[in-house]
C-alpha cells in the first residue's frame, strides 16, 4: 500500500499468481470487460514474442472517495512460466493481497503445489509475511473433466485459512466473486494496519461499493448487494 497524505492518494496492489495457463490473464480481461470505463484504466498486457509467455498484465481500478481521497487498486498478473521467477518476484513486491489461481484438474495438483511453494518463497524474499498478506485461492477451470468436485474444493478450503472461490474464468464464472473476496480481504488488512475508516473516512462498504457498483454484476450473487447501482452505472455508460 502506498498512502500519500499530501496528495490524498491511496494505492493498493493485488497480484494474481499461479501456474502458467491457469487463467490469470483471463481473470483480468473479464474484470476489464465488466468494469465501467470511469473506474478502470487500459488493460496493459506485455507479451514476449512467444504469445503464450506472458510477461505481466496490469489493470488499474480507481475512484475518489466521498472524503476526496483518490484510491487506485492495481491488479497485476505474474508470468506463469518457470523461467520468469525473477519477474514474478519483482511483480509481487509490495503486494497487499494475492489471488492464487489454481487449476482445478487433479492432474494439475503437482503444478499448483510447486507454484504455491514458489509464492511462499517469493513472499519471504519480498519480506511479505504470509500471515499478514491475505491470499484468496481461485479453483479455475471447474468445468473441465478431471476437475475437483465442489466437495473436494470445500475440503481444500477447510485445510487452510484462505478464502476459496470456484471459477470458470473463460465464461466469467467466479471472476467477480474472486475479485470481491480479495478486495475485501485487502481492505480489512489495510484497515487494521492504517485505520482507513478512521483516518481516511473510507469504510469497507464505501471501498467495495465504489468499485462494485461500477461493475456489471449481472448473473452473480454480488448483483443483489450492489445491483441497483450497477444498473445505473450501465445505463450511465450508454450501453
Amino acid at each position: 500500500m502506498q498512502l500519500n497524505h499530501a496528495q490524498r492518494e491511496l494505492t493498493l496492489k493485488i497480484v494474481y499468481y499461479g501456474p502458467g495457463l491457469s487463467g490469470k490473464t483471463t481473470n483480468l480481461r473479464h474484470l476489464h470487460a465488466k468494469a465501467s470505463p470511469e473506474v478502470r484504466g487500459r488493460l496493459l498486457t506485455v507479451e514476449t514474442h512467444d504469445d503464450r509467455t506472458l510477461f505481466f498484465d496490469l489493470l488499474p481500478v480507481f475512484f475518489s472517495t466521498s472524503s476526496g481521497f483518490k484510491v487506485k487498486v492495481k491488479l497485476f498478473t505474474v508470468p506463469g512460466q518457470v523461467i520468469h521467477n525473477a519477474t514474478r518476484r519483482i511483480v509481487l513486491q509490495g503486494a497487499d493481497a494475492v489471488v492464487f489461481i489454481a487449476d482445478s484438474r487433479r492432474g494439475a495438483t503437482a503444478d499448483n503445489n510447486a507454484y504455491w511453494r514458489n509464492l511462499q518463497e517469493n513472499m519471504k524474499e519480498n519480506n511479505l509475511d504470509p500471515s499478514q498478506v491475505p491470499v484468496v485461492i481461485q479453483f479455475n477451470k471447474k468445468d473441465l473433466p478431471d476437475a475437483r468436485t465442489d466437495a473436494e474444493i470445500e475440503e481444500s478450503r477447510r485445510r487452510g485459512g484462505e478464502a476459496v472461490v470456484g471459477a470458470v474464468a473463460l465464461r466469467g464464472e467466479g471472476v467477480l466473486e474472486t475479485f470481491h473476496a480479495v478486495a475485501q480481504a485487502a481492505y480489512r488488512r489495510l484497515d487494521m494496519r492504517a485505520h482507513l475508516a478512521r483516518n481516511l473516512g473510507l469504510t469497507e462498504a464505501e471501498f467495495l461499493g465504489q468499485i462494485f457498483r461500477r461493475m456489471d454484476l449481472t448473473g452473480t450473487a454480488l448483483a443483489a448487494m450492489y445491483g441497483r447501482a450497477a444498473g445505473e452505472a450501465r445505463s450511465g455508460d450508454g450501453r
Partner: protein, 502 residues
Amino acid sequence: MNGASGNGASDGVGASRRESVLQRRLSLADMLDLPSFVEVVRSFSELYRVGIKVMDTAGDKLADVKVGHGDFCSYVFGFPEGRSRCTATVARVKDGPVAPVQSARPARGDGAEAAGIIALPCFTGLRYLVMPVRWEGDTLGRVILGPFTPEELADFPPSLTDISGVDLSRAHELVGRVRRVPERTAAQVLVHFGQVLAALVASGQRAFLATQLHIEAMLETHRDLEANNARLAQANTRLKELDRLKSTFLGTVSHELRTPLASIIGYSEMLAEGLAGALNPEQLLYVRTIVEKGESLLNLISSILDLSQIEAGRLRLVMGPVDLGSVIQTAVSSVAPQAQRKGVELEVRLPPLPQPRLAADADKLRQVVVNLLANAVKFTSSGGRVSVVMSEATAQKELAAQGYRVSVEDTGMGIRADQFENIFQSFYQVDGSSTREHGGAGLGLAIVKSLVEGHGGRVSVESEFGRGSRFTVVLPLQPPLSEHGGFSALAPMPSPGGQDRF
C-alpha cells in the same frame, strides 16, 4: 546477539534491492518518447496553425511549438504594462488550476466538457484552451492550445488599447498572422489531440514498463546467480579441504599399518626359516601362508600410501639418467612368475642399441611398467599373451617433443569404451560387484597416471571389448622442470578444469 545480526543482514538484503518501477508513480515524461512526441505536436501545430504546449505536473515543458502569435506577443511584450499583463496571463495558463475558476470558464465544443477543457482569455482579446492530461484517474499535466484569435473577436479590448504607446494599426497587422478560429473548432482540435496523446501514453507506458521490468528481472537473475556461485565456491573450497584431509589421513594410517605388518612378516619368515626351531610341514604351510598374505596386504598398503602421497602433492621424484630398456626388463622379470603360473605368454620387444636413456625416476618408472604388466596378466586368461613393446626415441605428437613410447598389450577381456575415462580414477573397478573375479584395490592405474604425468608424459588406453587392450605410455626424454626447480608428481585433478594461469 546472533539473532539480531541475522535480522540486520536480511533487512540489508531487502533494502539493497531497488524498488521496482511497478511501485513508482510514472510521470508523463516516463511514458512518452519525447523526440517523437515533439514531432507529433509540431505536425499538429502546423496542420492547425495554432501553438501547442505540453507540460507535466512539475511545470516542465515536454513540448512547445509556437505558431503565428510570436510577433504579436513580442510586440505587446515590448511595453512595460504589456509585459506585466502578459506575464500574469501566462502564469495563469501554465500554473493556475485547470478548472473553471480564476477567470477561466468551461470551453465550448463537442466533448470539451468531458475532456475538462477550459477557456482562458488573454488581455489582448486572444484566447487559450487548456486541457488536463488525465491518466488512470491521475492528472499528469496539461495541454495548452493557443493563443488563437476567437472568430467572434471584433476589436481589441480596453485591456490592450489602454496600454500607452501601443500602435493599434501595427497591432492589427501583427494579430492578422494569428490563427482566427471558432472556439468550438479549437476545442475539437484539442480533444482530438488528447486522444492521440492517450494512445501515445498507453504504448509509451507499455514500452517503458516492459523495458524497465526486463532490466530489473535481469538484475534480479544476476543477483540469484551470484548468490548461487558464492554458495558453490564455498562448497568447493570445503570439498577440496576434505579431500586433502582424506589424503593426509590415508598416508598416516598406511604408515601406521605398515610398521607392525613388516614385523608380522619378518617374524613369520624367521619362523619359516626355522630360526625358532624346526616346524612340521603343516606348521610350515601355515606360516608361509601368513607371509604370503602379509605381503599382499603390504603391497596394497604401499599402493594406498603412494597414491595418498601423490594426491597430497608430497611425492617427489628422484631424477637421474635411466636406461628405459633395463627398467622394462626388470619389470618383466618381476611379473614373469605370475604369468608363468597362469599360463600367459610374456613377450618383450625392445629397440636395438644404442641404450635408450632418459631423465626419470627409475623406481617410479619400474612401478609404472609393473602395474601395467600385472594388470595385463591379471585380466588375460590362460593361453593368452601379454607383450610389451618399446619404440625408438622419436618425436611424440602427444608431447610435442622427443620421447619414448611403451605399449603393454594383452589378449584379455578388454574394456568398454565408456570405461576408458574411469579406469584411471582411484579405487575404480570396472567390475564393482562384491563377487568380482579379480582382486585389487583399483589403485594401479591411478598411480600409473599420476607417475607418468609427473614425468611430463601421457598414458592412454585402446581396447576392443572381449579381444584385448593396449595401454600406451609416452615419456619425454627430458621432463619439464616444475616451478620448484625439482620434479614432483602432479596430484590428479579432482575435477575437470584448467589450471591457474598466473
